[in-house]
């Protein structure tokens, strides 16, 4: 490993010293900018895992490089520029706050392809990509409603952006599909990664009667609390069963590998195009960890739901859906439009929380 890094370092040094040598490098270079540490066992960990899969898939034909812990704002613009200058052919920027810097740098390097995760602005050489995590949340909602004894789940969340709200709603709709009286309690911790606050939120939710926890934050703390208190929880972003061998029912796994492989291949083939990718279970970007600590019947039902979502026969947001304010949205039997989900600002009926206006 060390030798390899030395080799990369030497190559980078040569590239930096002689500006013209870039053309001589036939390898495709793919670069990643991470907001967290690769060892966070959550968001960044899975993006890095995707990078490793791409590296393994392409072997010698592709060189991959990453930089971690890059602050959103001017620092990220510099990090992205550095990559663009160093001969990266495609650059993946994996945090929402990188949106404007990515667009700015992309304008200056029209020949480099940029891919921004979770954003909503594209340009000639900037694609956005995200995943339909709400598909997984629908499945775990169903499992929660089947497994819970108190009929209450606790949901630990970061920020009220549409993706997070859609996740809460999908979880609730999944739960309601088997138990219409199911309750979801929500605690906002206003952070993507804060083990202390997430642990506190988990304890509060359990003391309020929740016996199943799920989260839209990145640390394994809620899983550890659930394990310690003999409750159940769902892993976030990656399989967290080692933090809660008895607690974890399953986990929604972000699997970016296939997407990264596809996009790098497109760059190599010269047919990369701007898009707004939104893959889900069907493409393999969202997958579930092994179902454990539940009855076989519940596991079988969950697997059936997964199959249905993959085939397209089940859609988490199928109308009509009753909102928290009592109004109804969607036509019977038809899924909501993507735009409605991507801009979701309302709760489904039955969620024990209020969204700020």
């Amino acid at each position: 490993m060390k030798m390899k890094w030395m080799g990369i370092a030497a190559a980078a040094a040569m590239a930096a010293l002689s500006v013209t040598s870039v053309d001589a490098v036939a390898k495709t270079k793919a670069c990643w900018v991470y907001v967290g540490a690769v060892g966070d066992f959550g968001w960044t960990y899975e993006h890095n895992h995707g990078r490793e899969m791409a590296q393994k898939h392409f072997g010698d034909k592709v060189e991959t490089v990453f930089v971690e812990n890059v602050k959103e704002g001017p620092d990220s613009e510099r990090a992205i520029t550095r990559f663009a200058r160093s001969g990266c052919n495609i650059i993946f920027t994996t945090s929402f706050g990188y949106m404007e810097p990515t667009l700015k740098v992309a304008k200056k390097f029209p020949d480099v392809k940029f891919e921004h995760a979770t954003g909503y602005k594209t340009s000639k050489n900037v694609t956005t990509y995200n995943a339909k995590f709400h598909e997984g949340r629908y499945v775990i909602g169903q499992i929660a409603a089947r497994t819970s004894k108190t009929g209450i789940a606790g949901y630990i969340v970061s920020f009220p952006i549409p993706e997070v709200i859609a996740g809460i709603n999908a979880f609730m709709l999944g739960a309601q599909s088997v138990n219409p009286d199911f309750k979801v309690k929500v605690v906002w911790v206003n952070s993507w990664f804060d083990p202390g606050k997430e642990a506190d939120a988990a304890k509060v939710l359990i003391s309020q009667g929740a016996d199943i926890l799920t989260q839209h934050t990145d640390s394994a703390a809620p899983m550890q609390i659930a394990e310690a208190q003999g409750k159940h929880a769902f892993g976030q972003a990656s399989d967290q069963s080692k933090f809660g061998p008895k607690a974890q029912l399953t986990a929604i796994i972000d699997n970016w590998g296939p997407y990264y492989i596809r996009r790098i291949q497109a760059v190599m083939d010269g047919n990369w195009k701007t898009a707004s990718s939104w893959d889900g279970m069907a493409e393999g970007t969202v997958s579930m960890a092994p179902m454990k600590n539940m009855t076989d019947a519940v596991a079988a039902e969950a697997m059936k739901t997964v199959e249905g979502i993959k085939k397209g026969t089940i859609h988490p947001f199928t109308g009509p859906i009753t909102k928290q304010d009592g109004s109804v949205i969607g036509e019977a039997g038809k899924p909501l439009a993507d735009g409605e989900i991507l801009g979701m600002k309302w709760y489904v009926k039955g969620i024990d929380d209020k969204l700020q206006k």
Binding site: A9, A13, K71, E72, R85
Partner: protein, 360 residues
């Protein structure tokens, strides 16, 4: 045989100048040791870390951008610390300056004139100064320790910014994402030498030059030095300790606030929850590394900017952890504080016999 520290009859002017250089040399040396322990070629690693950022016009521009806020805050803190007023909360004053200045683009989105920018910068200074006034008031009225009050206010400012950007000030067309509207036209600092370096860099150098003059040539500078080093003597000559606290806090707060709005109206271009990656704290190292001398602070700011950029190149080119910058910054502060001992003490080698060690 043993080493002792012996008090010098007076401050060593030579060591005062040598101490930061010695600290940098020790940091580089032990940095090399760390790289070697990580299994890297130390010379090549040190080259990547300290020299490569200086080898291209692009990275020199980035250095200037990184150094500008550090210098702007650092010169204010240098004066503040010279007066022995310990403002540790520049990070909070920076945040408040950024918020105050951003009120213009957030509330008067359509207003476009050169005055827009002037108003933003002035509001930035006022925001930072007012936030610096809180510890000054608590200190002068209740004798509350400004180290604690200013530091705790950093968190207050941080949470206020967080709430505003996620709540009332967020971009109405931004799908609830935590960012303000994008600043446009005269809401953005003009750039020089290309499209990256903004005029905040000029403001930083100007502030350093003005404060260097004030400290060296004016009565105010004399007042600050004497109130810092011999407050009783200063009081006999008619200076007020309270006024010194107020001056130091308002000045350092105002400059931190200016740095804040320059960051947001410059390289960032919009408000977001994270306004600074800790410039207000790093500037404390800058002030001390620069010998609390405004001109020295310029060089110290560039040095610390290198430690940031070098950490990034080391990460990419050498595959070391992103924490390496913090390790280097920590070592630098540690060594400079250690080396400063040599200004007042000298090391003596004693042969035989035991003498009491005269410690600090």
């Amino acid at each position: 045989m043993k080493l002792i520290l012996e008090k010098r009859p007076q401050r060593s002017a030579k060591m005062a100048l040598l101490s930061p250089l010695l600290a940098i040399a020790l940091t580089v040396f032990f940095g090399g040791v760390i790289f070697a322990l990580l299994g890297l070629n130390p010379l090549r690693a040190l080259y990547v870390y300290f020299l490569e950022p200086l080898t291209s016009w692009w990275s020199i521009q980035e250095l200037v951008i990184k150094a500008a806020p550090l210098v702007l805050i650092g010169v204010g803190l240098a004066v503040c610390f010279e007066a022995k007023v310990w403002n540790i909360g520049a990070e909070g004053q920076l945040t408040m300056g950024a918020l105050a200045g951003s009120m213009i683009p957030v509330f008067f989105t359509g207003w476009q004139s050169p005055l827009t920018l002037v108003a933003m910068l002035v509001l930035g200074i006022i925001g930072g100064a007012l936030f610096g006034a809180i510890p000054a008031f608590l200190k002068t009225r209740f004798n509350a320790n400004e180290i604690l009050t200013s530091l705790m206010l950093v968190y207050v400012a941080g949470y206020l910014a967080d709430w505003l950007v996620r709540g009332p000030w967020r971009d109405p067309d931004g799908f609830n994402f935590p960012k303000s509207v994008n600043f446009e036209g005269w809401q953005v600092l003009p750039t020089i030498f290309g499209d990256r370096i903004h005029i905040g860099a000029i403001l930083a150098v100007a502030a350093a030059l003005v404060l260097a003059f004030v400290m060296a040539k004016t009565l105010k500078g004399f007042e600050i030095r004497i109130m810092g080093n011999a407050p009783r003597a200063g009081m006999f000559s008619g200076f007020s300790p309270k006024k010194t606290v107020w001056f130091a806090m308002l000045l350092s707060g105002g400059l931190a606030g200016l740095a804040g709005i320059c960051e947001i109206a410059g390289p960032a271009g919009h408000l977001q929850p994270l306004i600074s990656p800790g410039y207000g704290f790093t500037a404390i190292i800058v002030a001390f590394l620069g010998r609390l001398n405004p001109i020295g602070v310029i060089f110290a700011g560039v040095m610390l900017a290198i430690s940031y950029l070098g950490g990034e190149s080391a990460q990419i080119d050498l595959g070391v952890s992103a924490r390496i910058s913090q390790v280097f910054q920590g070592m630098l502060l540690f060594f400079i504080l250690a080396c400063d001992t040599l200004i007042l003490y000298r090391i003596k080698l004693l042969s035989g016999g035991s003498r009491k060690v005269t410690g600090a």
